[in-house]
């Protein structure tokens, strides 16, 4: 599976069959998204920067992270659907902007400093 539309449409159908659109105003969906991001953050809160364990599909951490990441995506998909936003198109536009703003030759190995 690599088609995001299938997920969008499947979740929309899920929502309508339960008559849950009434709960899916933007603020509610954002609060729900924040809840899932919180669960994702918790998984990594007391860990070091190493990625080995986290990136191993057989680890418990990887399994848990994959569930929380999925939950975040689901609310993001639902939110953009309610707002009539083409999620993938918006992301490609932002990436195009980043490509312009951070030319590879000038930003090689250098993270943008957020305190400047």
């Amino acid at each position: 599976v690599s088609d995001l539309n299938d997920l969008i449409i499947r979740y929309r159908k899920f929502t309508h069959e339960r008559d849950w659109q009434q709960f899916h105003d933007p603020r509610s969906l954002i609060l729900a998204l924040v809840g899932e991001v919180g669960e994702l953050a918790e998984l990594f809160q007391w860990r070091g920067p190493q990625i080995a364990d986290a990136a191993d599909s057989n680890s418990e951490l990887n399994r848990r992270a994959s569930e929380e990441i999925a939950d975040v995506l689901l609310y993001l998909v639902r939110l953009s659907d309610e707002l009539n936003i083409d999620l993938l198109d918006a992301a490609h536009k932002k990436l195009s902007a980043a490509e312009q703003r951070f030319p590879a030759y000038a930003f090689k190995g250098q993270a943008p400093d957020k305190t400047q």
Copy 2:
């Protein structure tokens, strides 16, 4: 565009060309994601539950929301790529679980109560 893989691969290429993988450990990406979720939340913080303005593609609010939602997706895509997680597959699995857990006939019009 509806293929999520294109976005994943494009962002991976963007990262490698700038040698930015070194910054993309899970904790850093989650903190960056939290930053974007914060910007999304800010857009809706003093607003009512109405969706009209937010869902109108010509409104400034819709344009801003679409940018922040895109940023959240981008970091989510990057994070799952670093963790070798199949984002779409994981989301479909969670949705399957939700379909089982909340049968349409039993949860019609009723939001699950998080304080119980």
Copy 3:
């Protein structure tokens, strides 16, 4: 109790007695804070804007909210302690700035618009 210093010192002592300073670098504490904010958000995600239930000390929602709010404060206190930041002083300074920036006569009943 109304002295914040007592809480700061008590939590510092708690941390040192368990030798947990090693885990309390800024990023770890922020991720932990995000986790608690997520739990707070979850409590309100499917609710309306009404405050009655939430503000009633006898309600389950109020009890749960008070626990999550406490957790957020605790990590905020720990973070500012590790960073040598005088939390109350910093908050009073921000409030002074807000008093200047939003004179009562000019902003009466008007929320600052975040999309402008």
Copy 4:
């Protein structure tokens, strides 16, 4: 200054003088809090675990962190005030519970594992 009540009362007065209580329902305040937590996270997103720079009162990072931490505290104070929650009392209760749950002798140098 170490009395939290002064801050609570000052911010309440600030709010009432501007007639802003109408915006301060729990969900709005939580979304605003999330916005500030996002700004705090951004400051640390591409940094290592080292604390030296961040804890130095003369550094730009410390100054910025102190502002964002203050903003988080302010919304937390406002939220608990609207919900009639005694913030400090709630935090002391949670700390008492943690002291019981994690005896120093048993948890010395060991962070609780969130994936278990």
